[in-house]
């Protein structure tokens, strides 16, 4: 009895101390470094986009933003880690469209709605890219050839991820049939494309150098209008297909993060994305700066989520 009392008193005292310790910390967020979970490996596309962002972000926040690459299992390890993190604003989650796909493919239980949106940062338009070892010079030749031999043209893709969904949309809109080969990540896909081991893949403007050297061919870009960096690449809209497919990257925080903290993050994000140096950094990544505030980003996520659900259902990849 007495022992129970002591234990309880101890626990109460400890709780009190903890509360006292954490209370002032809330008042002046942020007062220690912030961890940004990037669910992909260092040196990848996502990492290359969020590193310059983190540099601008921390200038605005006044505390270091430390990137933690939590890679593995199609980004779902990082997603779980972010979901489990304390909702105190000291863990932010750098996300892209894969979060919707891995959920519907049944790979992970984590859904975009397990988080609170902060802001959309950037969007990278996808480009359908062909190997130089293929005979096609443009979309028409590709489409004609593909109609003649359905299921023969190989497409390198991370199965069930953005690089799979984008060619699948093209396939559906143009009434073609491709054959998919699993290549995780842009770098291995480029390698296989250069060697002619696959015919087509999804890439982006970062591969411009290889196109200029005649090692790859950009067939069409999935943006609203042509990109001035590669003005001779037609958009899918010009070719009569209503396909706009951009990989959207933004910042989320765990559900339950206090509103003042979220506001602070949102404001800092808005300022960070307006920096000219950030725009410059995104340009070399073949990416456009695409800021959306928290509420717009929330609606955007809901829309994208629904779009992806429809595509996944069409492809027969959906598990729930």
């Amino acid at each position: 009895m007495a022992r129970t009392f002591v234990t309880m008193a101890g626990a109460a005292a400890l709780t009190g101390v903890l509360a006292a310790l954490s209370a002032p910390a809330m008042a002046q967020y942020p007062d220690r470094p912030i961890k940004m979970i990037v669910p992909w490996a260092a040196g990848g596309d996502t990492d290359n986009i969020f590193r310059p962002f983190a540099a601008e972000f921390q200038k605005q926040l006044g505390q270091p933003v430390v990137i933690a690459n939590v890679a593995g299992a199609s980004g779902t390890v990082g997603a779980r880690e972010a979901q489990k993190a304390a909702p105190d604003g000291y863990t932010v989650y750098a996300v892209h469209d894969y979060i919707h796909l891995t959920f519907y493919a049944g790979i992970s239980e984590v859904k975009y709605s397990d988080f609170e949106p902060i802001c959309l940062v950037a969007a990278t338009p996808s480009i359908l890219t062909a190997s130089a070892k293929t005979p096609w010079k443009n979309w028409q030749e590709l489409a004609d050839d593909a109609k003649k031999r359905p299921g023969q043209i190989s497409v390198g893709a991370t199965l069930g991820s953005t690089s799979h969904i984008f060619p699948a949309i093209v396939e559906k809109m143009a009434g073609l049939k491709f054959k998919y080969v699993s290549y995780d990540g842009l770098a291995p896909r480029m390698n296989a494309l250069l060697g002619g081991h696959i015919d087509l893949t999804d890439s982006n403007l970062t591969q411009k150098g290889k196109v200029e050297a005649g090692l790859l061919r950009f067939i069409a870009i999935a943006s609203e209008k042509r990109d001035p960096e590669s003005a001779d690449v037609p958009t899918f809209k010009e070719l009569g297909m209503n396909i706009v497919y951009e990989v959207a990257r933004g910042i989320l925080v765990p559900k339950g993060t206090p509103a003042p903290v979220r506001t602070k993050l949102e404001e800092s994000c808005a300022k960070a994305t307006k920096e000219p140096s950030f725009a410059q950094a995104m340009k070399v990544q073949g990416t456009r700066v695409a800021f959306l505030n928290a509420s717009d980003y929330g609606q955007f996520l809901a829309k994208i989520d629904n779009d992806n659900k429809v595509v996944m259902t069409d492809l027969g990849l959906i598990k729930k």
């Binding site: 040196g43 891995t102 696959i198």
Partner: protein
Amino acid sequence: MLDLLANGLVNIAQWKYLLPLLAGTFVGVIGGSLPGVTITMTVIVVLPFTYGLDPLAGLAAMTGVYVGGSTGGLIACCLLGIPGSPASIATTFDGFPMARNGEPGRAIWLGVWASVWGGLLGAFFLVFLTGPLAAIALEFGPWEYFSLFVLAMAMVAGLTESSLLKGLISTAIGLLITVVGHDPIGSVPRFTFGSEFIGSGFSFLPVLIGIFAFAQIMTDLEKLNQPRGQAAESLIGVRLERFSHLKVNLEIFKQPFLLAWSTIVGLIIGILPAIGGSASSVMAYDQAKKFSKTPERFGKGHPEGIIASEASNNANVSGSLMTIMAFGIPGDAVTAVMLGAMTIHGIQSGPLFISQNPDIAYGIYAAYILAHPCMLLICFVLMPLMLRVTSVRMAVLAPVVLVLCVVGAYALNNTMQSVYVLLMFGVVGYVLVKLGFPLAPLILGLILGDQIEINLVRAIMTDANPWLFLTRPISGLLLLAAAASVVLAIWQHLRHRNRVAEEEPDF
């Protein structure tokens, strides 16, 4: 070409480039020598500092990290028996026994000098053969990669003297570890028994550190309570032997073929993407043993083992640099980060890179070459300090090393998951060593497991015809070589069986 290289060397020799290079090499040596801190992690740490520098200075610093890290790993190998970085796994096999035999200085300097010569020889290839050699790597489709990996494993399973069967089982265990978790093609959970912990899979690094660090430390602890005098209070004897650098260098150059072949093995593996320094070290070691006149001395402190492993892992760096310079394709995580740094500075990598940015391209060549004397200088300054590690008592060293292992595993993903994996495989590694299973084939299985599966499935997805593995010329040749390698191993094993008594498994 040579005048461009000369320009590059003169350019890099300025303080504004030399200083980052020196600093990078220093950080690389330190990072490489800490078990659990990989070169990848070290280069990521250096990355933010390079944002503020001009592009070449940043790339020079990273090249320094890469070269320094590939060498630094051998220090922990020789003194602690734990690979400081995965790239120096095979250095442990002979470096540690040699150090235990009372020659830690000889073991380390053999490694350092072999690194220097292997690296410089690699530089020769880097400068002159970047274009043509990297073009061959591109011809490797999934069939060729699959066959190449099978060859690598066939070669290494024969490494062990005690039992070929145990070597093969070890390989299979390594492969099996990579199978657990979500499958690499469609992310279907495999063998998870519904557990989220198993579902995340076991990443390479914590498994590697766990198996090596625990097997080593725990085997040492067994001997801690022995009567004083012969007690292994510290890992090696406190006293350092006298050795001469001239003799060490003579030892290396006495066998020019060994040095050249190890360099070429390292180079080829460096050029092929996604394999990395660890495989090159293990494969060069195996090759050295196959060609050696004295294969029975391997694993007991044979200088040839150290030379092969260290020459090849530095040459591996030049191979990776070749691939990234010619095609903008990172061969491993370290060059992936370097590529990231280039794009951040607005430099387009790819086939046009060398012609569009000759200053930077030849600057990187020059930085790679000059990193070697820098590394040598740093080793001269640091080594007396590093050797002091040997005089630390085991009771102090064990906890400190274990803390570093835990931090290293944690830092990999910033999750506790890796730490649990570390501990789990620490137990597994210790038990396997006690049962007499060799660890090297297991590690290679672990490194290549994912890639073998992915390339096998890719090949089938690309073309349903299984005969392509044999009818595609490069792939067919590689598989033939694999079969020959197993036959050779069985023959060697039978020949040695009568001579080599089975020994008590000791690490």
